[in-house]
Symmetry: C2
Subunit: 211 residues, 2 copies
């Protein structure tokens, strides 16, 4: 693998390519041109070639890509050939919906723990999991070898949730709280923030003719 | 307003600045330097000045920005000085959590309708809303002057949800289904897609030393 710094957006697109390659594979498609794959993914063909070029040479000139092969390669690059252990922090409406969302497990992300501060929710059974007290999180996260934390608490508690996860050795966090979080430089946080996206829509609809 | 094409990412950052200015305002802070605001928002000060420069001149050299004033200006640019009417399509776990999420209404986004295909959910009461049949969506969306659609259905139904919303005159859509959607060029779709973000985390944790 080249040691150049690969932008996050290129990695995000690789994930998108993998998703669409998996759909093609399910339909029994064996080969796909970069033009066709680009069309499905909503990018341009040069972009696909450029993103893949970070990691090597793929595809056959004039023929395109073998779907299964490229899917395997991208999944391998992204680290998706293993199962990831996740812990959820915050089992309110959103958190409970995430725990029940089959998309996680279908893509190899397995919730192995769910934690709450609210005594009313501790002990609740959701899917295969029993909601545990936030106080017991650190040892349980270690014991269950949690690698990724998912934060679905309200904003005022989000930093504490990050701190506890990091303390327990987690260094990848998916954060749903609409707030900037601090973490050590070797911990990665990805924010899911639909408030910002609503504002982009608001902007675009406010003076649509000039946009 | 200048007629240059302003990148979405700059608009996203404006929304982030507004969010943090509102927090400063709540704390009674009257002035903020671009360095301080940049630090809070996790960007660099030059970025803030550049993003704002698309829309005019703001702030006072050597002093910084009046918090209330800049907040008002950005909210105005983003179209947030009005209330937006939203319709939700898909009232499963995630949809129900979104309807109950006070962040929407606190930021001026009001759900005025919620629609479902599943007969078991039609008639359910969530907050002030009664879940309606998807079949009745088009006239109700028009009647309630819905401006933004929020799609929380499973992927196979998402395109139909878009088509119906567009047919009813909605031209801004926040999509939570992990699928590429087609729409006319004057309709804006923003995707909230945490599957892609999980894969970015997976990638970063797979070979952390080289990243």
């Amino acid at each position: 693998m080249k040691s150049v710094n690969i932008p996050d957006i290129a990695i995000t697109r690789l994930s998108l390519y993998a998703r669409n390659l998996a759909l093609l594979d399910q339909k029994g498609v064996e080969m796909v041109s970069s033009a066709r794959l680009a069309d499905i993914c909503g990018v341009n063909p040069a972009q696909i070639r450029k993103d893949l070029a970070y990691f090597g040479e793929f595809g056959t000139r004039g023929l395109g890509y073998y779907v299964k092969e490229l899917l395997y390669e991208i999944r391998n690059i992204l680290g998706l050939e293993k199962k990831w252990h996740l812990a959820l922090v915050g089992v309110g409406g959103l958190g409970a919906a995430l725990l029940r969302d089959a998309e996680f497990v279908n893509h190899g992300y397995i919730f192995v723990g769910a934690f709450e501060k609210d005594p009313k929710r501790i002990g609740m059974r959701i899917g295969d999991l029993t909601v545990q007290s936030f106080k017991t999180m650190t040892p349980l996260v270690r014991e269950k070898r949690v690698e990724l934390g998912v934060i679905a608490v309200s904003s005022p508690w989000a930093q504490e949730a990050v701190d506890r996860l990091v303390e327990a050795g987690v260094n990848g966090i998916l954060n749903f709280a609409p707030v900037q979080l601090q973490c050590p430089h070797d911990v990665h946080i990805e924010n899911v923030d639909w408030g910002l996206k609503l504002d982009v829509l608001s902007y675009k609809l406010t003076a649509p003719t000039s946009r």
